[in-house]
Symmetry: C2
Subunit: 240 residues, 2 copies
DNA sequence: GCGACGCTTCGGCGCCGGCCGAAGCGTTCC
DNA sequence: GGAACGCTTCGGCCGGCGCCGAAGCGTCGC
Protein backbone atom coordinates (compact mmCIF):
# COMPACT_ATOMS: atom_id res chain seq x y z
CA UNK A 1 0.00 0.00 0.00
CA UNK A 2 1.24 3.45 -0.78
CA UNK A 3 0.88 6.81 0.85
CA UNK A 4 1.62 10.17 -0.71
CA UNK A 5 3.92 8.80 -3.37
CA UNK A 6 6.02 6.64 -1.04
CA UNK A 7 7.47 3.61 -2.72
CA UNK A 8 9.35 0.62 -1.50
CA UNK A 9 12.95 1.15 -2.51
CA UNK A 10 16.13 -0.74 -1.76
CA UNK A 11 18.91 0.93 0.25
CA UNK A 12 21.54 -0.92 -1.76
CA UNK A 13 23.94 1.78 -2.85
CA UNK A 14 24.00 3.53 0.51
CA UNK A 15 25.11 0.30 2.10
CA UNK A 16 27.84 -0.09 -0.49
CA UNK A 17 29.17 3.35 0.33
CA UNK A 18 28.96 2.72 4.07
CA UNK A 19 30.92 -0.49 3.47
CA UNK A 20 33.54 1.40 1.52
CA UNK A 21 34.05 3.97 4.28
CA UNK A 22 34.15 1.30 6.98
CA UNK A 23 36.55 -0.82 4.92
CA UNK A 24 38.97 2.09 4.85
CA UNK A 25 39.13 1.93 8.62
CA UNK A 26 38.98 -1.87 8.60
CA UNK A 27 42.59 -2.45 7.62
CA UNK A 28 45.08 -2.51 10.51
CA UNK A 29 47.67 -0.20 8.98
CA UNK A 30 45.11 2.45 8.12
CA UNK A 31 43.42 2.08 11.52
CA UNK A 32 46.76 2.63 13.24
CA UNK A 33 47.37 5.80 11.28
CA UNK A 34 43.87 7.14 11.81
CA UNK A 35 44.01 6.49 15.56
CA UNK A 36 47.44 8.09 15.73
CA UNK A 37 45.79 11.20 14.34
CA UNK A 38 42.87 10.79 16.71
CA UNK A 39 43.85 13.61 19.03
CA UNK A 40 43.49 16.18 16.32
CA UNK A 41 47.17 16.68 15.58
CA UNK A 42 48.86 16.69 12.19
CA UNK A 43 51.54 14.09 11.57
CA UNK A 44 53.90 13.59 8.65
CA UNK A 45 53.64 10.53 6.44
CA UNK A 46 56.89 9.03 7.69
CA UNK A 47 55.75 9.11 11.27
CA UNK A 48 52.43 7.55 10.35
CA UNK A 49 54.31 4.79 8.53
CA UNK A 50 56.24 4.13 11.73
CA UNK A 51 53.02 4.11 13.79
CA UNK A 52 51.57 1.49 11.48
CA UNK A 53 54.84 -0.45 11.22
CA UNK A 54 54.83 -0.43 7.42
CA UNK A 55 57.16 0.98 4.81
CA UNK A 56 56.78 4.45 3.37
CA UNK A 57 55.43 3.02 0.12
CA UNK A 58 52.71 1.11 1.91
CA UNK A 59 51.83 4.09 4.09
CA UNK A 60 51.76 6.38 1.08
CA UNK A 61 49.28 4.18 -0.75
CA UNK A 62 47.01 3.94 2.26
CA UNK A 63 47.12 7.68 2.95
CA UNK A 64 46.26 8.40 -0.67
CA UNK A 65 43.14 6.30 -0.36
CA UNK A 66 42.18 7.90 2.95
CA UNK A 67 42.63 11.35 1.46
CA UNK A 68 40.66 10.56 -1.68
CA UNK A 69 37.77 9.32 0.42
CA UNK A 70 37.87 12.43 2.58
CA UNK A 71 38.90 10.84 5.86
CA UNK A 72 42.15 12.81 6.11
CA UNK A 73 43.46 16.07 4.70
CA UNK A 74 47.06 16.75 3.66
CA UNK A 75 49.20 19.87 3.74
CA UNK A 76 52.63 20.00 2.09
CA UNK A 77 55.40 21.76 3.97
CA UNK A 78 58.74 21.45 2.19
CA UNK A 79 59.52 17.80 1.73
CA UNK A 80 57.01 16.81 4.45
CA UNK A 81 53.33 16.03 3.94
CA UNK A 82 51.30 16.55 7.09
CA UNK A 83 48.10 14.57 7.46
CA UNK A 84 45.22 15.17 9.85
CA UNK A 85 41.74 13.87 10.48
CA UNK A 86 39.49 15.63 7.99
CA UNK A 87 36.44 16.37 10.13
CA UNK A 88 34.68 15.97 13.45
CA UNK A 89 32.51 13.34 11.74
CA UNK A 90 35.55 11.17 11.03
CA UNK A 91 36.80 11.53 14.60
CA UNK A 92 33.34 10.65 15.92
CA UNK A 93 33.22 7.61 13.69
CA UNK A 94 36.54 6.39 15.10
CA UNK A 95 35.31 6.87 18.66
CA UNK A 96 32.08 5.07 17.76
CA UNK A 97 34.01 2.10 16.41
CA UNK A 98 36.18 2.10 19.52
CA UNK A 99 33.07 2.18 21.70
CA UNK A 100 31.80 -0.94 19.95
CA UNK A 101 35.21 -2.60 20.16
CA UNK A 102 35.29 -1.91 23.90
CA UNK A 103 32.00 -3.67 24.59
CA UNK A 104 32.65 -6.72 22.48
CA UNK A 105 31.92 -9.99 24.23
CA UNK A 106 34.66 -11.42 26.50
CA UNK A 107 35.04 -14.49 24.29
CA UNK A 108 36.68 -12.41 21.59
CA UNK A 109 37.79 -9.55 23.76
CA UNK A 110 41.20 -8.57 22.58
CA UNK A 111 40.91 -4.85 23.04
CA UNK A 112 44.10 -4.00 24.82
CA UNK A 113 43.45 -1.81 27.82
CA UNK A 114 46.58 0.25 27.32
CA UNK A 115 47.35 1.65 30.80
CA UNK A 116 48.64 4.93 29.47
CA UNK A 117 45.71 5.60 27.15
CA UNK A 118 43.35 4.42 29.86
CA UNK A 119 44.83 6.87 32.33
CA UNK A 120 44.63 10.08 30.32
CA UNK A 121 44.24 10.79 26.65
CA UNK A 122 42.48 13.15 24.36
CA UNK A 123 39.31 12.24 22.54
CA UNK A 124 39.73 14.46 19.48
CA UNK A 125 39.20 17.73 21.38
CA UNK A 126 38.44 16.81 24.99
CA UNK A 127 39.82 14.71 27.78
CA UNK A 128 39.11 10.99 27.97
CA UNK A 129 40.38 7.93 29.82
CA UNK A 130 40.42 7.67 33.61
CA UNK A 131 41.23 11.39 33.89
CA UNK A 132 38.25 12.38 31.78
CA UNK A 133 35.96 10.05 33.70
CA UNK A 134 37.36 11.14 37.08
CA UNK A 135 36.80 14.81 36.27
CA UNK A 136 33.26 13.99 35.21
CA UNK A 137 32.67 11.99 38.42
CA UNK A 138 34.10 14.82 40.55
CA UNK A 139 31.77 17.35 38.91
CA UNK A 140 28.81 15.05 39.53
CA UNK A 141 29.90 14.54 43.15
CA UNK A 142 29.95 18.26 43.88
CA UNK A 143 26.70 18.63 41.93
CA UNK A 144 28.29 20.87 39.35
CA UNK A 145 26.96 18.56 36.66
CA UNK A 146 23.96 16.23 36.42
CA UNK A 147 24.10 13.35 33.96
CA UNK A 148 21.01 12.43 31.98
CA UNK A 149 21.76 9.77 29.44
CA UNK A 150 24.12 11.24 26.86
CA UNK A 151 23.58 14.80 28.11
CA UNK A 152 25.40 16.46 30.99
CA UNK A 153 23.57 19.44 32.51
CA UNK A 154 25.65 22.11 34.18
CA UNK A 155 24.02 23.39 37.37
CA UNK A 156 24.16 26.92 38.78
CA UNK A 157 26.75 25.65 41.27
CA UNK A 158 28.60 24.18 38.36
CA UNK A 159 28.80 27.46 36.53
CA UNK A 160 30.11 29.13 39.69
CA UNK A 161 32.66 26.36 40.17
CA UNK A 162 33.97 26.53 36.60
CA UNK A 163 34.14 30.31 36.76
CA UNK A 164 36.08 30.30 40.03
CA UNK A 165 38.45 27.76 38.48
CA UNK A 166 39.14 30.28 35.74
CA UNK A 167 37.00 29.17 32.80
CA UNK A 168 35.09 31.84 30.89
CA UNK A 169 31.56 30.49 31.30
CA UNK A 170 29.74 33.20 29.33
CA UNK A 171 29.08 30.84 26.43
CA UNK A 172 28.31 27.84 28.67
CA UNK A 173 25.91 29.98 30.74
CA UNK A 174 23.76 30.47 27.64
CA UNK A 175 23.18 26.73 27.29
CA UNK A 176 24.42 24.93 30.40
CA UNK A 177 24.54 21.44 28.93
CA UNK A 178 26.89 19.38 26.83
CA UNK A 179 27.30 16.01 25.22
CA UNK A 180 29.01 13.12 26.93
CA UNK A 181 31.08 10.38 25.32
CA UNK A 182 30.90 6.76 26.37
CA UNK A 183 34.49 6.13 27.29
CA UNK A 184 35.65 2.92 25.65
CA UNK A 185 38.38 2.30 28.14
CA UNK A 186 36.35 2.88 31.31
CA UNK A 187 32.88 2.16 29.86
CA UNK A 188 31.61 5.24 31.65
CA UNK A 189 31.01 8.82 30.62
CA UNK A 190 33.38 11.67 30.14
CA UNK A 191 32.41 15.20 29.14
CA UNK A 192 32.54 16.20 25.49
CA UNK A 193 31.07 19.23 23.72
CA UNK A 194 31.48 22.80 24.89
CA UNK A 195 32.22 21.98 28.54
CA UNK A 196 34.56 19.11 27.72
CA UNK A 197 36.53 21.24 25.28
CA UNK A 198 36.71 24.15 27.76
CA UNK A 199 38.06 21.87 30.51
CA UNK A 200 40.64 20.37 28.14
CA UNK A 201 41.83 23.76 26.94
CA UNK A 202 41.97 25.14 30.50
CA UNK A 203 44.07 22.17 31.71
CA UNK A 204 46.51 22.91 28.85
CA UNK A 205 46.56 26.63 29.69
CA UNK A 206 47.30 25.85 33.36
CA UNK A 207 49.99 23.40 32.21
CA UNK A 208 48.33 20.67 34.23
CA UNK A 209 48.64 18.38 31.20
CA UNK A 210 50.97 18.08 28.24
CA UNK A 211 50.30 16.37 24.99
CA UNK A 212 52.43 13.34 24.34
CA UNK A 213 54.61 13.87 21.31
CA UNK A 214 53.64 10.80 19.35
CA UNK A 215 50.55 9.37 20.99
CA UNK A 216 47.05 10.34 22.09
CA UNK A 217 48.18 9.83 25.65
CA UNK A 218 48.26 12.91 27.82
CA UNK A 219 50.91 13.55 30.49
CA UNK A 220 49.82 14.89 33.86
CA UNK A 221 52.46 17.30 35.12
CA UNK A 222 53.40 17.74 38.82
CA UNK A 223 51.51 21.05 38.67
CA UNK A 224 48.58 19.13 37.29
CA UNK A 225 48.81 16.48 39.97
CA UNK A 226 48.55 19.13 42.66
CA UNK A 227 45.83 21.04 40.86
CA UNK A 228 43.67 17.96 40.27
CA UNK A 229 43.88 17.13 43.99
CA UNK A 230 43.18 20.67 45.12
CA UNK A 231 40.44 21.66 42.68
CA UNK A 232 38.77 18.33 41.90
CA UNK A 233 39.76 16.11 44.78
CA UNK A 234 41.36 13.67 42.36
CA UNK A 235 44.42 11.78 43.53
CA UNK A 236 46.78 10.65 40.80
CA UNK A 237 46.89 7.18 42.36
CA UNK A 238 43.20 6.68 41.54
CA UNK A 239 44.01 7.14 37.87
CA UNK A 240 46.44 4.20 37.75
CA UNK B 1 60.88 12.45 30.22
CA UNK B 2 58.45 10.75 32.53
CA UNK B 3 55.88 11.92 34.99
CA UNK B 4 54.24 9.85 37.70
CA UNK B 5 54.99 6.51 36.10
CA UNK B 6 53.75 7.44 32.65
CA UNK B 7 55.49 5.56 29.89
CA UNK B 8 55.47 5.88 26.15
CA UNK B 9 53.46 2.93 24.89
CA UNK B 10 52.19 2.00 21.46
CA UNK B 11 48.44 1.79 20.78
CA UNK B 12 49.00 -1.14 18.43
CA UNK B 13 46.55 -3.75 19.60
CA UNK B 14 43.69 -1.29 20.07
CA UNK B 15 44.05 -0.24 16.46
CA UNK B 16 43.99 -3.88 15.38
CA UNK B 17 40.73 -4.41 17.20
CA UNK B 18 39.23 -1.22 15.82
CA UNK B 19 40.23 -2.42 12.36
CA UNK B 20 38.57 -5.76 12.96
CA UNK B 21 35.27 -4.17 14.03
CA UNK B 22 35.34 -1.71 11.15
CA UNK B 23 36.21 -4.49 8.69
CA UNK B 24 33.06 -6.34 9.75
CA UNK B 25 31.03 -3.37 8.54
CA UNK B 26 33.34 -2.81 5.58
CA UNK B 27 32.03 -5.67 3.45
CA UNK B 28 29.00 -4.79 1.32
CA UNK B 29 26.91 -7.83 2.17
CA UNK B 30 27.36 -7.35 5.90
CA UNK B 31 26.79 -3.60 5.59
CA UNK B 32 23.50 -4.25 3.81
CA UNK B 33 22.34 -6.57 6.53
CA UNK B 34 23.39 -4.28 9.36
CA UNK B 35 21.68 -1.28 7.79
CA UNK B 36 18.57 -3.35 7.18
CA UNK B 37 18.50 -3.90 10.93
CA UNK B 38 19.24 -0.24 11.54
CA UNK B 39 15.74 0.71 12.67
CA UNK B 40 15.94 -1.62 15.63
CA UNK B 41 13.79 -4.42 14.25
CA UNK B 42 14.58 -8.12 14.26
CA UNK B 43 14.81 -9.87 10.89
CA UNK B 44 15.23 -13.54 9.99
CA UNK B 45 18.37 -14.75 8.24
CA UNK B 46 16.61 -15.46 4.98
CA UNK B 47 15.31 -11.94 4.72
CA UNK B 48 18.73 -10.53 5.49
CA UNK B 49 20.19 -12.72 2.76
CA UNK B 50 17.68 -11.20 0.35
CA UNK B 51 18.53 -7.69 1.52
CA UNK B 52 22.19 -8.34 0.80
CA UNK B 53 21.46 -10.21 -2.45
CA UNK B 54 23.53 -13.23 -1.42
CA UNK B 55 22.70 -16.90 -0.87
CA UNK B 56 21.68 -18.27 2.52
CA UNK B 57 25.12 -19.89 2.94
CA UNK B 58 26.89 -16.60 2.41
CA UNK B 59 24.52 -14.73 4.70
CA UNK B 60 24.85 -17.43 7.35
CA UNK B 61 28.62 -17.13 7.42
CA UNK B 62 28.50 -13.35 7.63
CA UNK B 63 25.89 -13.36 10.40
CA UNK B 64 27.94 -15.84 12.40
CA UNK B 65 30.89 -13.50 12.30
CA UNK B 66 28.75 -10.50 13.21
CA UNK B 67 27.26 -12.40 16.13
CA UNK B 68 30.62 -13.65 17.37
CA UNK B 69 31.97 -10.12 17.38
CA UNK B 70 28.92 -8.86 19.26
CA UNK B 71 27.45 -6.61 16.55
CA UNK B 72 24.21 -8.58 16.34
CA UNK B 73 22.26 -10.90 18.63
CA UNK B 74 20.25 -13.92 17.50
CA UNK B 75 17.07 -15.52 18.84
CA UNK B 76 15.81 -18.87 17.52
CA UNK B 77 12.09 -19.23 16.96
CA UNK B 78 11.22 -22.57 15.38
CA UNK B 79 13.16 -22.91 12.16
CA UNK B 80 13.78 -19.15 12.01
CA UNK B 81 16.72 -17.29 13.48
CA UNK B 82 15.94 -13.65 14.17
CA UNK B 83 18.82 -11.19 14.21
CA UNK B 84 18.95 -7.69 15.57
CA UNK B 85 21.48 -4.97 16.25
CA UNK B 86 23.18 -5.87 19.53
CA UNK B 87 23.44 -2.46 21.19
CA UNK B 88 22.98 1.28 20.94
CA UNK B 89 26.75 1.51 20.44
CA UNK B 90 26.54 -0.55 17.26
CA UNK B 91 23.65 1.54 15.95
CA UNK B 92 25.56 4.73 16.74
CA UNK B 93 28.60 3.39 14.94
CA UNK B 94 26.53 2.74 11.81
CA UNK B 95 25.09 6.26 11.94
CA UNK B 96 28.61 7.64 12.46
CA UNK B 97 29.89 5.81 9.40
CA UNK B 98 26.90 7.05 7.40
CA UNK B 99 27.58 10.61 8.57
CA UNK B 100 31.11 10.32 7.19
CA UNK B 101 29.89 8.72 3.98
CA UNK B 102 27.44 11.58 3.50
CA UNK B 103 30.12 14.28 3.72
CA UNK B 104 32.64 12.59 1.48
CA UNK B 105 34.08 14.87 -1.22
CA UNK B 106 32.06 15.23 -4.44
CA UNK B 107 34.79 13.58 -6.48
CA UNK B 108 34.02 10.19 -4.96
CA UNK B 109 30.47 10.94 -3.86
CA UNK B 110 28.45 7.90 -4.62
CA UNK B 111 26.19 7.92 -1.60
CA UNK B 112 22.76 7.38 -3.10
CA UNK B 113 20.28 9.90 -1.81
CA UNK B 114 17.42 7.42 -1.66
CA UNK B 115 14.29 9.61 -1.87
CA UNK B 116 12.31 7.38 0.45
CA UNK B 117 14.96 7.18 3.14
CA UNK B 118 15.63 10.88 2.73
CA UNK B 119 11.98 11.71 3.25
CA UNK B 120 11.32 9.87 6.50
CA UNK B 121 13.12 7.08 8.25
CA UNK B 122 14.07 5.99 11.69
CA UNK B 123 17.54 6.48 13.11
CA UNK B 124 17.57 3.51 15.49
CA UNK B 125 15.01 4.99 17.89
CA UNK B 126 14.11 8.43 16.61
CA UNK B 127 12.96 10.11 13.42
CA UNK B 128 15.49 11.08 10.76
CA UNK B 129 15.44 12.19 7.14
CA UNK B 130 13.56 15.22 5.90
CA UNK B 131 10.76 14.55 8.39
CA UNK B 132 13.16 14.49 11.32
CA UNK B 133 14.90 17.64 10.11
CA UNK B 134 11.58 19.41 9.35
CA UNK B 135 10.25 18.66 12.84
CA UNK B 136 13.49 19.98 14.32
CA UNK B 137 13.30 23.13 12.14
CA UNK B 138 9.64 23.69 13.10
CA UNK B 139 10.49 23.45 16.80
CA UNK B 140 13.33 25.95 16.31
CA UNK B 141 11.02 28.27 14.34
CA UNK B 142 8.45 28.41 17.14
CA UNK B 143 11.29 28.72 19.67
CA UNK B 144 10.38 25.46 21.33
CA UNK B 145 13.96 24.35 20.89
CA UNK B 146 17.31 26.16 20.65
CA UNK B 147 20.20 24.43 18.88
CA UNK B 148 23.69 24.73 20.28
CA UNK B 149 26.13 22.52 18.41
CA UNK B 150 25.18 18.92 19.11
CA UNK B 151 22.79 19.84 21.93
CA UNK B 152 19.19 20.92 21.54
CA UNK B 153 17.77 22.89 24.48
CA UNK B 154 14.03 22.75 25.11
CA UNK B 155 12.62 26.09 26.15
CA UNK B 156 9.74 26.78 28.54
CA UNK B 157 7.56 27.39 25.48
CA UNK B 158 8.82 24.12 24.12
CA UNK B 159 7.75 22.17 27.17
CA UNK B 160 4.31 23.76 26.97
CA UNK B 161 4.07 22.95 23.28
CA UNK B 162 5.07 19.30 23.69
CA UNK B 163 2.68 18.90 26.61
CA UNK B 164 -0.23 20.41 24.69
CA UNK B 165 0.57 18.05 21.82
CA UNK B 166 0.15 15.15 24.25
CA UNK B 167 3.69 14.18 25.28
CA UNK B 168 4.36 13.48 28.93
CA UNK B 169 7.09 16.04 29.58
CA UNK B 170 7.71 15.24 33.26
CA UNK B 171 11.01 13.57 32.46
CA UNK B 172 12.03 16.13 29.84
CA UNK B 173 11.22 18.96 32.26
CA UNK B 174 13.89 17.66 34.62
CA UNK B 175 16.58 18.14 31.99
CA UNK B 176 15.20 20.11 29.07
CA UNK B 177 17.91 19.26 26.56
CA UNK B 178 18.74 16.41 24.23
CA UNK B 179 21.32 15.26 21.74
CA UNK B 180 21.05 15.94 18.05
CA UNK B 181 22.19 13.73 15.19
CA UNK B 182 23.83 15.09 12.08
CA UNK B 183 21.48 13.81 9.42
CA UNK B 184 23.52 12.16 6.68
CA UNK B 185 20.86 12.67 4.06
CA UNK B 186 20.07 16.31 4.76
CA UNK B 187 23.41 17.27 6.37
CA UNK B 188 21.44 19.09 9.05
CA UNK B 189 20.32 18.19 12.54
CA UNK B 190 17.44 16.11 13.71
CA UNK B 191 16.53 15.49 17.35
CA UNK B 192 17.82 12.38 19.08
CA UNK B 193 17.94 11.46 22.76
CA UNK B 194 14.99 11.79 25.12
CA UNK B 195 13.06 14.36 23.08
CA UNK B 196 13.71 12.65 19.76
CA UNK B 197 12.56 9.31 21.11
CA UNK B 198 9.45 10.86 22.70
CA UNK B 199 8.47 12.53 19.43
CA UNK B 200 9.00 9.28 17.48
CA UNK B 201 6.93 7.25 19.93
CA UNK B 202 4.17 9.85 20.01
CA UNK B 203 3.95 9.94 16.22
CA UNK B 204 3.54 6.15 16.27
CA UNK B 205 0.92 6.36 19.04
CA UNK B 206 -1.07 8.96 17.04
CA UNK B 207 -0.71 6.73 13.95
CA UNK B 208 0.86 9.62 12.07
CA UNK B 209 3.59 7.26 10.87
CA UNK B 210 3.93 3.57 10.21
CA UNK B 211 7.06 1.54 10.05
CA UNK B 212 7.85 0.12 6.66
CA UNK B 213 7.81 -3.65 6.73
CA UNK B 214 11.25 -4.29 5.30
CA UNK B 215 13.09 -1.00 5.29
CA UNK B 216 14.09 1.83 7.59
CA UNK B 217 11.77 4.08 5.66
CA UNK B 218 8.79 5.39 7.57
CA UNK B 219 5.38 5.91 5.99
CA UNK B 220 3.48 9.09 6.72
CA UNK B 221 -0.23 8.26 6.94
CA UNK B 222 -3.03 10.64 5.81
CA UNK B 223 -3.70 11.25 9.50
CA UNK B 224 -0.05 12.11 9.89
CA UNK B 225 -0.11 14.41 6.88
CA UNK B 226 -2.92 16.42 8.43
CA UNK B 227 -1.37 16.36 11.89
CA UNK B 228 2.03 17.51 10.68
CA UNK B 229 0.42 20.45 8.89
CA UNK B 230 -1.80 21.37 11.82
CA UNK B 231 0.61 20.93 14.71
CA UNK B 232 4.00 21.64 13.11
CA UNK B 233 3.13 23.62 10.00
CA UNK B 234 4.83 21.02 7.87
CA UNK B 235 3.42 20.37 4.41
CA UNK B 236 4.07 16.91 3.01
CA UNK B 237 5.19 18.47 -0.25
CA UNK B 238 8.16 20.04 1.48
CA UNK B 239 9.34 16.56 2.40
CA UNK B 240 9.57 15.34 -1.17
C1' DG C 1 75.74 21.61 -7.82
C1' DC C 2 75.33 17.45 -5.47
C1' DG C 3 73.94 14.23 -2.02
C1' DA C 4 70.53 13.20 1.37
C1' DC C 5 65.84 13.10 2.76
C1' DG C 6 60.71 12.60 2.44
C1' DC C 7 57.56 10.69 -0.15
C1' DT C 8 55.25 8.84 -4.49
C1' DT C 9 54.62 5.65 -8.34
C1' DC C 10 55.12 1.23 -10.62
C1' DG C 11 55.08 -3.62 -10.97
C1' DG C 12 54.84 -8.12 -9.14
C1' DC C 13 53.84 -11.70 -5.60
C1' DG C 14 51.32 -14.10 -2.13
C1' DC C 15 47.60 -14.53 0.85
C1' DC C 16 43.03 -14.01 2.40
C1' DG C 17 38.23 -13.64 2.19
C1' DG C 18 33.78 -13.75 -0.37
C1' DC C 19 31.36 -16.51 -3.15
C1' DC C 20 28.38 -20.80 -3.99
C1' DG C 21 27.30 -26.02 -4.77
C1' DA C 22 26.59 -29.91 -2.15
C1' DA C 23 25.41 -32.02 1.95
C1' DG C 24 23.48 -32.03 6.51
C1' DC C 25 20.65 -30.71 10.74
C1' DG C 26 16.56 -29.12 13.13
C1' DT C 27 11.76 -27.65 12.73
C1' DT C 28 7.16 -27.56 10.79
C1' DC C 29 3.30 -29.02 8.13
C1' DC C 30 0.39 -32.42 5.98
C1' DG D 1 6.38 -40.70 8.95
C1' DG D 2 7.91 -38.14 5.21
C1' DA D 3 8.43 -33.95 2.49
C1' DA D 4 9.39 -29.14 2.65
C1' DC D 5 11.52 -25.23 4.72
C1' DG D 6 15.07 -22.38 7.18
C1' DC D 7 19.50 -22.33 8.00
C1' DT D 8 24.33 -24.19 8.90
C1' DT D 9 28.64 -26.47 7.67
C1' DC D 10 32.16 -28.01 4.45
C1' DG D 11 35.19 -27.63 0.67
C1' DG D 12 36.96 -25.45 -3.31
C1' DC D 13 37.58 -21.58 -6.64
C1' DC D 14 38.85 -17.01 -7.82
C1' DG D 15 39.53 -12.16 -7.46
C1' DG D 16 41.20 -8.38 -4.87
C1' DC D 17 44.22 -6.26 -1.76
C1' DG D 18 48.33 -5.50 1.18
C1' DC D 19 52.92 -5.94 0.98
C1' DC D 20 57.69 -4.33 -0.63
C1' DG D 21 61.83 -3.62 -3.97
C1' DA D 22 63.15 -0.58 -7.39
C1' DA D 23 62.91 3.66 -9.49
C1' DG D 24 61.66 8.44 -9.64
C1' DC D 25 60.32 13.32 -8.15
C1' DG D 26 60.58 17.42 -5.28
C1' DT D 27 62.82 19.72 -1.38
C1' DC D 28 66.60 20.92 1.63
C1' DG D 29 71.26 21.37 3.53
C1' DC D 30 76.07 21.83 2.80
Amino acid sequence: MRYAGLEEVSIVSNADWVAEIAALVGEPARAHMLLALGDGRALPAGELAACADVTAQTASGHLARLEQAGLVTVVRQGRHRYYRIASVEVASMLEAVMAVAAVSPPAVMRFHADPVLQEARTCYNHLAGRLGVAICDALVRIRAVVLDGEIAHVTTEGLAFLESWGINVSRIRLHPACRTCIDWSERRHHLAGTVGIAIHEHCLALQWIEHHLDSRAVRITPTGERGLRTVFGIALTELR
